[in-house]
């Protein structure tokens, strides 16, 4: 029980510290324009890496076919500039229907 509280607090404090890096540095230190540029490019790089690993992998292995197929449909809809709701629902519905049909 106590160990669990320690886990939660350590995780909370550490995570909040990570999240404070930007806001704290921003007021105090003159962040060079080049660093800011790299930070916003880096955020997009992280998001794309998250979506790629999130679409294709699960627990270090392949996530199965239903999820990547759903994400692919969502991606194609986004490419065609479909409304946000269509992209999201399209992706989820594709994966859900494939699973209903027995595709893992």
């Amino acid at each position: 029980m106590n160990a669990t509280v320690v886990v939660i607090l350590a995780l909370a404090v550490g995570t909040y510290a990570f999240r404070l890096v930007g806001p704290v540095l921003h007021g105090r230190v003159e962040i060079p324009a080049r660093v800011q540029e790299l930070a916003s490019a880096g955020a997009v790089v992280l998001l794309v890496a998250l979506l790629a690993t999130g679409a294709l992998t699960e627990g270090g292995g392949f996530a199965g076919w239903a999820r990547p197929a759903g994400v692919l449909v969502g991606g194609l809809l986004a490419w065609k500039r479909a409304p946000f709701v269509v992209v999201v629902v399209g992706a989820a519905a594709t994966a859900a229907l494939l699973r209903l049909a027995g595709v893992a």
Partner: protein, 259 residues
């Protein structure tokens, strides 16, 4: 607070009200999906034998979906508290990079920065960066962030109380919804900015390549190596500017409009 000035570089800025409506509409989908994931987090935790307060407290003070799932997963698998905390922290390391990217967007007041920092998640950062002008970026961050925080925590509490009523949420295809949300949000940037596109493709390839071999959280961090392809624009010397260099005013042009 509305800026009294019209920025000439953004001629097609929609009115703030209709802009907020579209932000609300798009955000609400992400809230819905996150709420259901929250329900499953609460349910999984309690069904695994943790007391109700554990997922509930964790969701409020840690507030990071993937890290919470991993930490609870390690705890339930008997991996010990140290491993649970380390896994969660490793997964959340990326929020440092995110917070740097949105530091400007949060706002300038002390309260906005300290409260806003807690709302820095994959979704809020993606939402904010997807907007075209600074005012809309700030609105997008706060609208998506406050709503997500409320829905996530409500969902976790509901799930912890209800137990496993929803069953396996993979049935709803939500695992495909989140990567699709990210695609929709980053696609405009990827279309417009070839330099970022190159970095992102290399980064994603690196992340996928190392995923089977390294602990969770590391692949995404390694993706940042893709930034080596981000060339400095032609003006100015190569390499990081020294402190002795002629430091131009780094403050962005819209600073004066911020309140």
């Amino acid at each position: 607070m509305r800026s009294p000035k019209r920025t000439p570089s953004t001629p097609q800025t929609p009115s703030a009200r209709s802009g907020d409506r579209s932000l609300l509409r798009d955000s609400s989908l992400v809230w819905l999906a996150s709420g259901i994931v929250g329900v499953s987090f609460g349910a999984v935790s309690v069904a695994g034998g943790l007391p109700l307060w554990v997922p509930v407290l964790m969701s409020v003070v840690v507030y990071a979906g993937s890290a919470q799932f991993s930490a609870v997963g390690v705890l339930l698998a008997g991996g010990g508290p140290l491993a649970a905390a380390a896994t969660g922290l490793l997964l959340n390391t990326r929020t440092a990079a995110f917070s740097l990217a949105v530091a400007e967007i949060l706002g300038t007041s002390r309260a906005a920065r300290f409260l806003g920092a807690h709302l820095v998640t994959d979704e809020t950062v993606a939402f904010a960066l997807a907007q075209s002008d600074p005012v809309r970026q700030r609105r997008a961050f706060w609208i998506s962030g406050l709503g997500l925080f409320a829905v996530w925590n409500t969902g976790v509490l509901a799930g912890a109380l209800a137990g496993g009523a929803l069953g396996d949420t993979a049935r709803y295809g939500l695992d495909a919804a989140f990567p699709a949300v990210l695609i929709a949000l980053v696609l405009p940037t990827l279309r417009a900015d070839a330099a970022v596109r190159r970095c992102a493709l290399l980064g994603a390839a690196l992340a996928l390549a190392v995923t089977p071999a390294v602990p969770a959280g590391v692949p995404v961090l390694l993706a940042l190596a893709g930034l080596v392809l981000h060339r400095k624009p032609a003006a100015g010397p190569e390499g990081p500017a020294g402190p002795a260099g002629p430091a131009g005013p780094a403050g962005p042009a819209h600073e004066e409009a911020a309140v």
